[in-house]
Structures are given as structure tokens and as C-alpha cells.
């Protein structure tokens, strides 16, 4: 049985360390515990056990029976617990079998120190790798890979290995030439690379199409949708860069990962949950973008009327101080106006549904209920987070929700005018208290909580 929640994982780690010590692999047990503590220092059990081992005190065996198998190793790798996985392989006969040896050596390759003169981003990538930040390391490598000069060969290799370990080679899926030929429309053919994790290629293709046919209405809609997705990916990447630990793979982080991988169906389900549970406007915006893309892929016309219908992709909004969310209504922008791009949105602009308005629908609908009230200073989450907010989000990223909530409460006391601070604190409390996250594999440092 492989642990599901983070607390279970922490207990599992100490049990495996005990088992390794019992087998005489004390060095590996210590490396395992150090890796776990660097990933998350708030593990008293692991810390106490490490002190016992370091002091040479007697240590009990595992508290529960467990199988030290490759399945466990695989689960740890997918959670980004790479040092722990390598310790497990090195401290047991697992690393002697064919597959175990291969995995051990691949991990040995991936985690090997970087050259002394490596550029700063690659040094940081390595630091993330060995401290539980595998998803951050992947993001850093991918971002760096997009820029010049080209990555050195060893770094390219690590990018490939990381993709294999975390994403099952999602980046290197073969081109689907038949799929292109069988596409139901020219637009769909040009867009097909998105299913092969080629969002950038799809963006390029759409821009090319519009360069040749500036009046291609559906093409323009698709380009807008693609740019919305890309903006959210960039936003998540910048949040990941601000954090010093593995990003918790839940909510938007998980959904964006699925978008990057081209798993639009899975991403859509995750966004739908965000809309259902949290009435999340940004999720709604992403849903409508995916819907546009799916229609284009299916060769269906992208009908504005049908998409916009009765409701409702909302701009991300904050409630008015005097009126609860879902109440009140200010001047509307018609749906004929272009849908705002995510990076253009002022997330602090107050937006509310009318009192009598129906609840927003799940997907594929665009509404534009956008206020023009003068916006407060921009502290929105998409850009330029103040440092204290970044710190709080870094705590969230580490799964330290209670501490993050405390930070937000403290900030809200100091800045009562920033309603979003107390809202974020409330949101974190709700997540902690409901535990609803567990059902979705949320607030667990997993890489692929695919349903």
C-alpha cells in the first residue's frame, strides 16, 4: 500500500529509513532522511530518527509492514522525492535487479552535481532537484531550454530524464502525421500539435495562419484561447520560480501541468472542479479557452453566440467589501468585445454577479461581466506579488497551509484595504478544514495526481 496523503508519505519515509537501517544500510537511511527533511523540514518523526541514527542509538524497525519494491520507488519519483527514491534503491537489493539498477543509475545521472562553472539557473535547478523541488527543476530547465544559447549536452540529458521520470516522456511523444492528415479542417490540422504537448507550435501555427488570413475569425478566437492558456502556464512558472520547494500539484498547478502535457480532457475536468468548488473565475476563463480549442480540433465552427449564450466566463474578481460575492452588478461589457487575455486582466478590479443572476455555468460559455470601477493598487496574483505575499505563496507551495494562512492574516491586519489577503486566508482555511483536497490528490506533493 503506497501512501496517499502527505502525512502518510512522511510516515512511510521514516518507516523505510528504519527498514534500511535494519538491513545495515545506515548511510542510505541517513541520506533518505536528509532528503526528506530538505524537502520538508516540518517532519519531527524524520528529524528524531535522524538524530538517533547519527548518535548511534538503537532504532526500532518499521512500525508497519511494508514492501520495499519498485512500485514504492516509482511513486516517490513521481512525487519528486528523488533523493529518497535513490536512497531506497541504493540501500536495498532493488538496485541490483535489471530495472532497479537502470533506475538507480538514471537517478544517479540526474542528481549528479552540476559543473562548478554551470550557469546560475542550472545550479538552482540542481538545488531544486535534491531538495524535493523536481517540478520546479523541470520548469526551470524547460524555461532555460527555450532561450539561447542552447543547453549544454548534460543539461539537455537531464531535461529528458526529468521528463521521463515525472511525465512519462510526455515531451517526446512522436509526431502524429496521420492525425494531421485526417484532421477535419485546416484549422484543426494546424492546431493538432497541441495534443502532442506542442502548445508553442500551435501558437506559432495560428499566428502564421492569421498572418496569411487576417480575417480568419475562428483562427483569431483560437489564437486568443491559446494565448490565454500560455499566459496561465507562464504565470504558474513564475509562481514556481518564486517558491523554493515542489509546487503542490493541485488546483491550477495540476490543471496547467495537464495543459502543458496536452491532456486537455484532464485539464478540463480539473478546471471544472475548481469552478464547482470555488466558483473560480480564472478556471472558468481557462475552461472556455479549452472549449474553443476543442471545437476547433473537432472541426466545429466556433460559434460566438453558442459559446457566449447565457453565461459566463468571468473576469477573475474580488467581492466588494459591503456586498457578498454573487451580489451586485455594475456596468457590463458586451460579449462582442474581445475576451480579455489573462495577462491583461486587472485581478483587483471588483466584479460581481447580479443579485438575480443564475450561477455561472461550468464550461464553454463566455460571459463578460466586468466592472469599470476604479481599481485599487494592483496586488493581484498574476503579477508582481509583493514579497510577503510571495513568501506566503511559497509556504502554500510547500504545503504549509496553516503558516501561510497566518501570514495572510497578519498581512490583512496591516493592510485592511487589501481584501484579497483575508480572502486568501479564508480560502486556505477552507482547504485545510474541509480536506476536500484529498479527494483530488490535492496539497500533496505529487507530480501527477491524474485522476
Amino acid at each position: 500500500m503506497i501512501a496517499g496523503s502527505q502525512a502518510d508519505v512522511d510516515r512511510e519515509v521514516t518507516d523505510v529509513a528504519r527498514a534500511l537501517h535494519q538491513r545495515g544500510s545506515t548511510d542510505e537511511a541517513l541520506a533518505l532522511l536528509r532528503g526528506a527533511l530538505c524537502r520538508d523540514p516540518a517532519q519531527p518523526g524524520a528529524r528524531a530518527l535522524m538524530a538517533q541514527l547519527t548518535d548511534g542509538q538503537p532504532v526500532d524497525g518499521p512500525r508497519r509492514s511494508m514492501e520495499l519494491g519498485l512500485s514504492l520507488c516509482d511513486a516517490w519519483v513521481r512525487r519528486g522525492m528523488l533523493v529518497e527514491a535513490l536512497s531506497l534503491l541504493g540501500g536495498t537489493p532493488l538496485g541490483s535487479g535489471d530495472m532497479g539498477r537502470e533506475w538507480a543509475n538514471l537517478l544517479g545521472e540526474l542528481l549528479a552535481p552540476v559543473p562548478v562553472d554551470a550557469e546560475a539557473v542550472l545550479v538552482e535547478m540542481h538545488r531544486q532537484l535534491v531538495t524535493g523541488g523536481a517540478s520546479v527543476a523541470l520548469t526551470l530547465l524547460e524555461e532555460r531550454d527555450r532561450n539561447e544559447p542552447a543547453l549544454p549536452a548534460w543539461a539537455t540529458r537531464r531535461l529528458e530524464l526529468l521528463r521521463w521520470m515525472l511525465l512519462d516522456n510526455a515531451a517526446s511523444a512522436p509526431a502524429d502525421a496521420d492525425g494531421d492528415r485526417l484532421a477535419p479542417s485546416l484549422l484543426a490540422a494546424k492546431l493538432s500539435s497541441i495534443r502532442r504537448r506542442g502548445l508553442a507550435a500551435a501558437l506559432h501555427a495560428m499566428r502564421e495562419l492569421l498572418d496569411g488570413e487576417p480575417e480568419h475569425r475562428d483562427g483569431a478566437r483560437v489564437l486568443e484561447a491559446l494565448e490565454t492558456l500560455q499566459n496561465d502556464i507562464d504565470r504558474q512558472a513564475s509562481l514556481a520560480g518564486a517558491s523554493n520547494k515542489t509546487m503542490p500539484m493541485h488546483g491550477h498547478t495540476a490543471a496547467v501541468m495537464q495543459v502543458r502535457m496536452g491532456n486537455l480532457d484532464v485539464a478540463k475536468r480539473l478546471y471544472e472542479k475548481l469552478v464547482d468548488q470555488d466558483d473560480d473565475d480564472r478556471a472558468r476563463l481557462m475552461l472556455s479557452s479549452i472549449d474553443v480549442i476543442e471545437r476547433a480540433l473537432a472541426g466545429e465552427p466556433i460559434d460566438d453566440d453558442e459559446l457566449t449564450g447565457e453565461a459566463t466566463v468571468m473576469r477573475p474578481s474580488l467581492p466588494d467589501e459591503h456586498e457578498p460575492l454573487g451580489q451586485g452588478f455594475e456596468d457590463e461589457r458586451t460579449v462582442d468585445e474581445p475576451m480579455p487575455r489573462l495577462d491583461e486582466l486587472d485581478l483587483t478590479t471588483e466584479t460581481r454577479l447580479p443579485e438575480s443572476s443564475p450561477p455561472p455555468e461550468k464550461s464553454g460559455k463566455i460571459a463578460a461581466v466586468i466592472t469599470t470601477r476604479e481599481a485599487p493598487p494592483d496586488h493581484g496574483p498574476t503579477t508582481k506579488l509583493p514579497s510577503a505575499d510571495r513568501h506566503a505563496e511559497a509556504l502554500v507551495a510547500q504545503g504549509r497551509l496553516e503558516e501561510a494562512e497566518d501570514v495572510y492574516r497578519g498581512l490583512a491586519d496591516v493592510h485592511p484595504e487589501r481584501r484579497e489577503l483575508s480572502l486568501r486566508a479564508d480560502e486556505l482555511r477552507r482547504i485545510r478544514q474541509t480536506g476536500a483536497v484529498v479527494a483530488d490528490g490535492v496539497v500533496v506533493r505529487v507530480i501527477l495526481p491524474v485522476e
Partner: protein
Amino acid sequence: MDSLSRPPAPGWTPPPSTEADGRALVLFVDIDDAHFAQTSERLRKAYKLVRAQKDREACELIREHHEDLVAVLLDVDMPGSILDGILLTRILRGRVPAMGVPPFARNLPAIDVPIILVTSRTESYADEDMRRYGGDRLMQKPLEIHKLTLALTDWHLARNDP
């Protein structure tokens, strides 16, 4: 054996371990050609090795590359050398008075990297003794990439223990 659904790992043919391509640099001191060839083959995917056969050459390479090294691997016995791996470790860690150091090994630059002692007879030595002399780990020949990486990672994490 667990049944796992993973696609095949991406393959790679790395350049020879002695070829400069930006991989992390490791000093390897061992007179045994066969062992060097075997270790070199195993480590080349992540490490570039500079090799010394004997103590004097090792000191020269340390002077030349000390700023670029990520680790030093020393054969415990170092046949044909004045110094053995343990004594060279103590010198590198500054634990031998200058009078006791042969001239070629004096005034070596300080190196703040893990020193791994390797031997085919691990049962003949105590890990604790190696640490007392300034070594960081005693490892069995031939080295494997995952064992070396785990030892180096543990060394780095221990220094930055939260």
C-alpha cells in the same frame, strides 16, 4: 518484480568520460588501468574524470583543477606511491604537520569537496576511521554512478541541513 507502466527510459550515448563537455569534474587517483576503465565507463554519463596514477601526479592535478572539482576519489592503497589514500586525505584536510608532508604535497590548495576512499576490500577498513581521517565515505570498487551520486548528494545536504 513490480509491474510498472513506464515507457522505456530515454537513451543517450555520452562522450567519453575524459572528454570535456561541461560535466562535473572528479579527480580519480588509481593506478589500476582496468579499474579506471570500468569506473570511467560507469560514471561518464554524469562525470568527467581527470586521472592520476600516483600521489605526485594527484597533487599536480589538484593544484591545476582544485577550483573545478566536485569530488576526489582516492584508492586507499595507492600502490607505487609514497602516500596512501588515507595519508593524502589527511594532508588534503590539513591534518598533517608540514614536516610530515613530502615536498611535492606541501602547500596544496584547500579543497572543500567530498573525498571518497575506494577499495576492493571494504571489509578491511572501518568507515568511522575513514571519517576520522577526513574522508567522507568508504566505497567498494568498482564505483557505480548511483552510489557516488548518493554519497555526494548526502554530503551536500548534510552541509545545508535545515
